[in-house]
Structures are given as structure tokens and as C-alpha cells.
């Protein structure tokens, strides 16, 4: 049943429950369990809004402010994306979450041979500043922040966002963007990497350093346990690897002589809410605590607000089924409930058709309304951390924290996350687990409602978001227009300066901003990096 392992007796009664992260669950919990675990209200929980923030980042939780919703949006041409942005904002969304197409994510322009058939398919195609100017036309950039789902070329996109703001008349200190910018998780999971590990991490370092100095309202990195989880990691591993990745980024910036207190408050995370409800709640409560403790103890951070585990807890794409897709609407609602009970600060919800395609307007709005319903109708804003004090939840939260620390210990033994990823050790573990889990699903050991083990999927006819060849043509035409009208000498000069910075230890960010303003293309900037850094060779996985 579910994603946990359930052993039943001949009458169908459950005799044993083991969660994915490895905790064994008892039939019932009482005061003795807390006593056995050495539970202390002061050190393990603290008041809501107080260190170690297990209960909440803010003293009154959702009473003072409901969560921010950020549905993933963006497809086709910048014009279409702009339309969708405005639709979501009109329907109450207060932050944007921009999806880019694969060529953009991989640093290729729309007219590159490798981009063929992919332009605008899974997100918006961005070749130059012109596309950003169109996509964000009429959006109040000083009030609406944007998440940018991009990693390998996140530095370029962050520079592009600044160029966009300044061109539209918004000061760079007033705009707020959160590029995902987590290259290490791409190497574990999602696969949109370009440059070798060390150079990838250096670009992350450059963008963090730059944001610290120049873009006070932007959060330069959003570490995605989400995708690590989707690749087959357990909830405990999701948190552990994400924190180890965060440490790698912190360390690279600290090496530049910057105090961790100057920037760790700007880190945000993207975590998954897919899985067993209680395990998720325990995961987020334990994660807030470990993050705060780690920053305090290992990095000497003392300012309260800088110890916050900020981020988007949501999604859960791999929980969805292709069979009986309407069930996914229900699943989404329960994931959202999990996120709310965990005190998610920002959230987004996978849309029910996401198992096949990018969301249609109807399904995207449905998700948004589900989130609204929880806050405004069901009562999730009534009181902070409503599950606190539950014998079960508090025991589980303590056990979860142990599991997370155990996994972090394993990474440390391997010589750190960069080494573990370079050698493929993490990928190997995660893939093997994904394989075992899938076998369990097929044998009926794990269960997803609507899926019958042994019974073949008949497939479902769904409302697909059709790909349109015209998008590619429109993007290519627009790119050609940019290349015809821009100042070629300015492009060449800025690209040359970028190359020089890339080869030295200089921060590439100011040069990227200059390139963007000169209408250099994403492909041109990425090519400078490709030629300077080379490309990553992925390790084996088994």
C-alpha cells in the first residue's frame, strides 16, 4: 500500500509498516515513546518562530500570511507565456514560476540543429533579452517575483532578468528572481547539465556572490531535493543530499572570503511532498531543525532570519498515474494538505495531467484553486503547526532527523557530495532504489490507486498540449531579427570580455549582464562557457 512497506496477516490486518526512509511504525504511540526518544520541547521543537524552527518559521504560521503559490508556467513563444502569466496573476497567483524549453536549458539557441523539434515544447524559448521583454511585458517586476527553472545556464538567466528589469525601468535592487541554479542536483536527477562539475559549481558561486553584492532581493539558488526525490531517493535522502549540496555551494562562496551570514539567508529550497503523509510532515519539521542547527553550529550564523529553511514544498509529479487521471486531482489535494501541515512557505501543485504533458490552463487553475481552498475554506490557517505534540509525529520527526543525519554522514565518508556525484555513487544508489521501488509497484508490494499489479496499462486518451511547429519558426524569425538589428561590435566585445572572465577567476556575472544588454544570445554566451570549461562526462549508474 502506498509508498511504505506494509506487511499484512492472513486476515488482511496490517502487522508491520516501514516507511521509505526506513522508520518502523508502531500500531500506536504514547508518552513513553517521547520519553524513550529523549524528546525535549525546548531543544527539539522550540516555540513557533524560534530556533530550531521545527514548528514554524513564523510565530503565527499562516495566520500572519498564507502561503505563496507558484504554479510552474511557461510554454511556446514568449507571447503565449506572457498571456498565461497574466491569467495566473489575475487568478490570485502572487509569484511566477517560469518553465524554459530544453534548448534554452541546455544553452542552445532556437536555430541550433540540436534544438530541432524542441523549441517551446516543455517551456518558453529564450534566445535573447527580446524574448524576456515580451514574456514579462506588463508584469510589475517590483511586486511579482519570478522563479526561473533553469540550472546549467542559470547565471545567464539571472543576468538576463537584471537586464530585463533595468530595461523596463525597475532598479536591480527592487526586482526579485529565484533561479533554480542547482547544477549538482541536475547531475543526480534531471540531467540538464552542460559543464564539468567544478565549473558548474563555480558558476553557482559567481551568481551567489554577485547577488549578495548587487541584487539584494533575489535569491540566487534554489536547491532541489525535489528532483533528487523524483529520481528515486527516499525522503531522508532528499533532504540529506540537498543539504550536502547546499554545503558545497556555501563552501565555494566562503572560499572567496565572504561570510556565510551574508548569503545563507538567501538560499531557498525546492522539496517534494510526494509520499506518505506523516513521513512528509516529519521530513519538513526535521529539515527545518537540521538546517538551522547546521548553519548555527558549522557556519556560525546567528541572525535568526538567516537560519530559516525557506522554500517551495510542493509538486509530487512521480505520485501521479496515467491510469484514471482524475485521481490525480485528489492526490494533489492531499499532497497540498501535507504541505500545509508541514508549514510550507511557498507551494505549487502538480497538475493532474502532468504525467503526460505540461498543464493545460484548466488543470493549472484547478491546482491553484485547490491550494486556495485549503487556506480559505478548510481551516489550515487557524493555528500554527497543528500536529505538534502528537506522540506519533514528534517521535517520527526525531527518527527522521536521525535518518537524515545518517545519510549526510554517508556522503561525508565518500569525500563530500561533489566527489559522490562525480564518481556516480549517489546516482548509483538512487537508480538502484528507483528500480527496486518500481519492481515493488509492479508486484503489488507498493500501491497506487488505479494501478493493478500484473494488469497492463491500457493507456488513456488525454487532453494533450499540442506542440506547434510554428513556435520554432516564430522563435527563429525573432532570433534572426535580433541578430539583424543588434550592434555586432558590442556583442563581440561583451562576449570577449566574458571569455576573459571565464578563463580567469573574475566573476562572470557583470559580463553576462553586459552581454544580455547587447542582445548576445543564450547560445552565444553558453558557447563561451563550453569552449572554456568543456562538457561533463557522466559516470555510470549501476
Amino acid at each position: 500500500m502506498g509508498v511504505a512497506r506494509y506487511i499484512k496477516d492472513e486476515k488482511g490486518a496490517i502487522t508491520e509498516v516501514v516507511y521509505q526512509s526506513g522508520m518502523k511504525i508502531k500500531p500506536g504511540y504514547g508518552p513513553q515513546d517521547l520519553a524513550d526518544a529523549g524528546f525535549s520541547y525546548e531543544t527539539d521543537l522550540g516555540e513557533p518562530g524560534e530556533f530550531p524552527f521545527t514548528r514554524s518559521l513564523h510565530p503565527q504560521g499562516y495566520r500572519s500570511r498564507a502561503w505563496t503559490t507558484r504554479q510552474y508556467t511557461g510554454f511556446g513563444t514568449p507571447e503565449q507565456t506572457n498571456e498565461r502569466f497574466k491569467l495566473m496573476i489575475a487568478n490570485g497567483q502572487n509569484g511566477l514560476n517560469v518553465a524554459f524549453d530544453l534548448p534554452t536549458q541546455m544553452g542552445y539557441d532556437s536555430d541550433h540543429p540540436l534544438a530541432e523539434g524542441e523549441v517551446g515544447r516543455v517551456g518558453m524559448a529564450v534566445d535573447s533579452l527580446k524574448d524576456f521583454l515580451t514574456a514579462f511585458d506588463g508584469i510589475p517586476l517590483d511586486r511579482i517575483g519570478s522563479g526561473l527553472t533553469i540550472n546549467a545556464v542559470a547565471s545567464i538567466m539571472m543576468a538576463m532578468y537584471q537586464a530585463l528589469g533595468e530595461t523596463k525601468g525597475f532598479d536591480k535592487t527592487k526586482i526579485s528572481c529565484t533561479p533554480q541554479n542547482d547544477i549538482l542536483k541536475e547531475m543526480i536527477g534531471r540531467g540538464a547539465w552542460i559543464f564539468p562539475v567544478e565549473h558548474g559549481v563555480r558558476l553557482v558561486g559567481d551568481s551567489i556572490e554577485y547577488a549578495v553584492k548587487e541584487l539584494p532581493r533575489s535569491n540566487p539558488v534554489s536547491i532541489c531535493g525535489y528532483h533528487i526525490r523524483e529520481s528515486g531517493a527516499t525522503p531522508a535522502q532528499e533532504i540529506a543530499y540537498a543539504f550536502e549540496i547546499a554545503k558545497a555551494y556555501i563552501d565555494t562562496v566562503v572560499q572567496r572570503g565572504i561570510d556565510p551570514s551574508d548569503f545563507v539567508g538567501r538560499f531557498s529550497f525546492n522539496f517534494n511532498v510526494y509520499g506518505n503523509l506523516w513521513e512528509q510532515v516529519a521530513k519538513f519539521r526535521a529539515a527545518r531543525k537540521i538546517w538551522a542547527q547546521m548553519l548555527k553550529e558549522d557556519y556560525g550564523v546567528t541572525d535568526k532570519k538567516k537560519l530559516f529553511l525557506r522554500g517551495l514544498f510542493g509538486g509530487g509529479g512521480s505520485g501521479l498515474t496515467k491510469e484514471q487521471p482524475e485521481n490525480n486531482i485528489m492526490r494533489g489535494a492531499f499532497y497540498a494538505l501535507g504541505a500545509a501541515l508541514s508549514g510550507a512557505q511557498t507551494t505549487a501543485l502538480c497538475s493532474f495531467d502532468e504525467a503526460y504533458t505540461i498543464p493545460t490552463p484548466r488543470s493549472a487553475l484547478l491546482s491553484l484553486k485547490t491550494l486556495e481552498l485549503l487556506m480559505d475554506e478548510v481551516g489550515l490557517r487557524d493555528t500554527v503547526d497543528p500536529l505538534a505534540g502528537s506522540y506519533f509525529i514528534e517521535t517520527l520527526t526525531l527518527e527522521m532527523a536521525d535518518k537524515i543525519r545518517e545519510e549526510m554522514g554517508w556522503v561525508k565518508e565518500m569525500g563530500g557530495i561533489v566527489s559522490g556525484i562525480s564518481e556516480g555513487m549517489i546516482q548509483k544508489k538512487v537508480s538502484q532504489q528507483a528500480y527496486e521501488f518500481e519492481k515493488g509497484l509492479q508486484s503489488g508490494e507498493y500501491k497506487k490507486v488505479g494501478k493493478t499489479p500484473g494488469k497492463e496499462d491500457e493507456g488513456t486518451d488525454v487532453e494533450l498540449h499540442q506542440y506547434n511547429e510554428k513556435w520554432a519558426k516564430s522563435s527563429k524569425d525573432s532570433l534572426a531579427e535580433v541578430k539583424r538589428t543588434r550592434h555586432e561590435k558590442a556583442v563581440a566585445d561583451t562576449l570577449r570580455a566574458l571569455e576573459k572572465a571565464a578563463k580567469s577567476k573574475d566573476n562572470v556575472m557583470p559580463h553576462l549582464v553586459a552581454c544580455c544588454k547587447a542582445f548576445a544570445t543564450v547560445g552565444e554566451m553558453a558557447d563561451v562557457f563550453r569552449q572554456t570549461f568543456g562538457e561533463w562526462q557522466e559516470p555510470g549508474f549501476y
Binding site: 530544453l102 534548448p103 536549458q105 541546455m106 542552445y108 540540436l114 534544438a115 530541432e116 523539434g117 524542441e118 515544447r121 516543455v122 541536475e186 536527477g189 534531471r190 540531467g191 540538464a192 547539465w193 523524483e230 529520481s231 528515486g232 498515474t321 496515467k322 491510469e323 504525467a355 503526460y356 504533458t357 537508480s431 538502484q432 528507483a434 528500480y435 518500481e438 519492481k439 509492479q442 494501478k451 500484473g454 497492463e456 496499462d457 493507456g459 488513456t460 486518451d461 488525454v462 494533450l464 506542440y467 557522466e538 555510470g540 549508474f541 549501476y542
Partner: protein, 132 residues
Amino acid sequence: METVNKIRVLVAKPGLDGHDKGAKIVALALRDAGMEVIYSGLHQTLDQIMSTAVQESVDVIGLSIMSGAHLPICEKLTAMIKEQGLDNVHLVVGGVIPNQDVQVLRKMGVAAVFPGGTSFDTIVSGINGLFQ
């Protein structure tokens, strides 16, 4: 010397999409079904896939495509397979494949289509079935 002939499969990820969980777990399932599996890694061009298939003399090329670009990719690859005379090589495809595209792919010359959610058993027997 052990002279058992094994089915050799190239599991390949064409194009820019980096979602490789499916490709990897299918590779492990085929291994556990006694096949010899070569994994291409991510971001492969069709030329790289062809050249790997030739050098490794595989019997099956298994593409994993999640981006929705399965039709143009398979159209090109089936043509390349024909052109290079790899008559004994079967092309199979898995990933996010809507029902309505399965027949289109089969007509193109794709030997088998395994949309997301197909069981390991079906994939294994489907591939074994190509040699009976």
C-alpha cells in the same frame, strides 16, 4: 569457453531531455532478464546512437523519450537504420507516448512501443519476442 549468445541492447537517450530514471531502471530490468545492456548516457545525437549501435553490434536499440519528440526522432532514426543496412537491428521506444502515436510509430518501422507504465515483464517478453 562459455559461448552463450546474449541479446545485446543499447538503451539510448536521444536529444536534450535529461529525465533518465526510466532508461536506467529499464536497463537494470533487462540486465536482470539476462540481456547485455549498453547505456548511451544523456544528450545523444542520432549519429552517436547509430555509431554506438554499430560498434557494439547490438540487436536492439531502445530509445527513452520523455519530451514528446518521439515522432520526429523515430522517423529519422528508422531512416538511418535502413540507410546503413542494419537490417537485424530492432528499434523499440519507451517514454511519454500517447496512445494515438503508437500505431504511427509501428508503421514507421518501430518494432515495439512501451509507453510509460509498461511493466518490466511486458518489456522483457516484448524484446525476447523479437527473436522468436
